[in-house]
Amino acid sequence: MGRASSLAGLALAATLLAAPASAAGVPPAVAARVEAAAEQGRLAPGEAESLQRLLAGLQAAGLPTAPFAAKIEEGLAKVVPGPVMVRALERMRGDFVFARETLTFDGVVPPEAALEEAGESLRLGLTREELTALVASRGPSGAEMVARAARVQALLAGIGFPRQAAAELTRTGLAHASLSPSWGYLSKTVLQARERGIPDDRVAEAARSVLAESGSYNDFLTGIGFTTRQTREKAAVPAK
């Protein structure tokens, strides 16, 4: 075991020398964690190599490294078997490559944050067809808003919100460029609404109609009978 571990460490060191992950924007701590996992025998040499190679190639492919690094950290912390980790990371890379290609429109490459959001949405269960449909119906919205729509739709799907209704409201938000960041919390509002006995179809209709009128998230909350707060209050000290 000890001999196998040190051999794994040597193999990994060779990989790192050939393509230093840190030079490719990979956080050194993550590269070191993979290396340590290989040395401890947690990862087979081939698995560690696959992960390092995947990490090292992200930047060249125009993909963000942070979500992949976080996923590896999570896998190592949860003691996920090596082959499962490698498969999951490769699938994730596939999703991110698809997201990057799909969100590149009008000759503009999407900002990293948008790419992360769209890639994560695919990982959360949004289908590639749904992401493609969002881009096709983007109207005047840019990649950031399309990515937000993707996340909203993925989170709604995750809580069993009717898929068709979710797609309709995100499409409306994109058509009117009205899907501001606060809509990212829609799935949480849906859960609270359910607790108060407000059915999903009423929430969906209220959201769709506010988005169609380019209204605010607060308008939507008022429409379903929730109170609102003023997060842009100018006063430094609230009225006394």
Partner: protein, 325 residues
């Protein structure tokens, strides 16, 4: 002359003091400037290096939180406001904004705890009273919310959020008559926006059609009902004010027409006269609205409307809706 000299010297001193404050990096003045001008991104960019240099400055942390909240990023605001609170635990305003941040993150229990702490530190902090009331109302405690709204309104009788949500609390407590009175008072002062739309729905649901929502072009507008002199076809002053809203919109947006549908139970002739009076008013006051954009219908019958799934019959009414050309 002497007084003027002092005024002159002071007037000159104000920009100088501001400049000194800015040069000295007075976080409050700068932070407030960015908040007032709604330049949240600029504020964040300006404050980030300062915060890196002085990570334990409570004001810098507070303003960073406010900028992130303003930019609708409560997840990023949270660590800053929590740090501000940790650095100055007895500052009620920081606790208040921590509560607002928790609200934006949709964590109602944590939001409530923050307002409660703020109110322990400063029982008169009206913002915390108001938002704690909102929190209680959303949690189903309409009685607790009502008590706090009354407290806020005792000091500021026209606070719109308190006025509106007090009516909501009354509705949830089944006190329909008081709700109606409270809501009508609110609608008189604040007839626009999402709360007015909601207010009109609540009134209609309670059988009061003083206000109604109408789809005009792409928007839903809340208007006082179109009334006439008793038994006649002379528009009331309030009715004219409602038609002014329609006329203004139609003057600017010319891609839709207006349907005017008048109901008078048992008197189709009067219904017709009223329909003509509405068209005459709009086209006379707003000459940009051509008469052929206004379509009239009239019925000597009740208008059947639905509110909350229930059918209601209105003996005399005017319904307005738009059609795209």
């Amino acid at each position: 002359m002497h007084t003027n000299g002092i005024v002159m010297r002071n007037t000159r001193a104000i920009p100088l003091l501001l400049l000194v404050a800015l040069l000295a990096g007075c976080a409050m003045i700068e932070g407030q400037y960015y908040l007032n001008s709604e330049r949240y991104e600029d504020g964040r960019k300006d404050f980030a290096p300062k915060l890196a240099q002085s990570p334990n400055d409570p004001q810098l942390n507070y303003y960073m939180a406010r900028f992130e909240l303003g930019a609708e990023r409560p997840d990023r605001a949270l660590p800053y406001i929590q740090k501000a609170v940790a650095l100055v635990p007895d500052k009620a305003e920081y606790r208040f904004w921590e509560g607002v941040t928790w609200w934006a993150l949709q964590e109602p229990a944590k939001e409530r705890a923050a307002y409660e702490k703020a109110l322990v530190l400063d029982p008169d902090l009206r913002g915390a009273q108001l938002y704690l009331a909102h929190n209680l109302l959303d949690a189903g405690d309409a009685t607790g919310a009502l008590r706090l709204y009354d407290k806020v309104l005792a000091r500021d009788p026209y606070e719109p959020q308190a006025m509106f949500n007090r009516a909501v609390a009354l509705e949830r407590l089944g006190r329909a008559r008081e709700m109606r009175t409270a809501l009508l008072a609110y609608m008189e002062l604040y007839p626009d926006g999402a709360q007015a739309r909601q207010g009109a729905q609540m009134l209609n649901l309670a059988g009061d059609y003083t206000w109604r929502n109408h789809v005009v072009g792409l928007r839903t507008v809340t208007l006082r009902s179109i009334d006439f002199s008793t038994g006649g076809s002379t528009l009331t002053e309030d009715a004219c004010a409602s038609l002014d809203v329609i006329g203004s919109v139609m003057s600017i947006k010319r891609d839709f027409g207006l349907d005017i549908v008048v109901f008078v139970k048992g008197d189709a002739g009067l219904a017709r006269k009223r329909a003509l009076a509405v068209r005459e008013y709009i086209t006379r006051m707003y000459p940009q609205v051509a008469p052929n954009r206004v379509f009239l219908s009239w019925f000597g019958a009740e208008e059947a409307v639905k509110a909350g799934g229930k059918a209601v019959a209105l003996a005399e009414s005017v319904n307005l809706f738009t059609r795209t050309n």
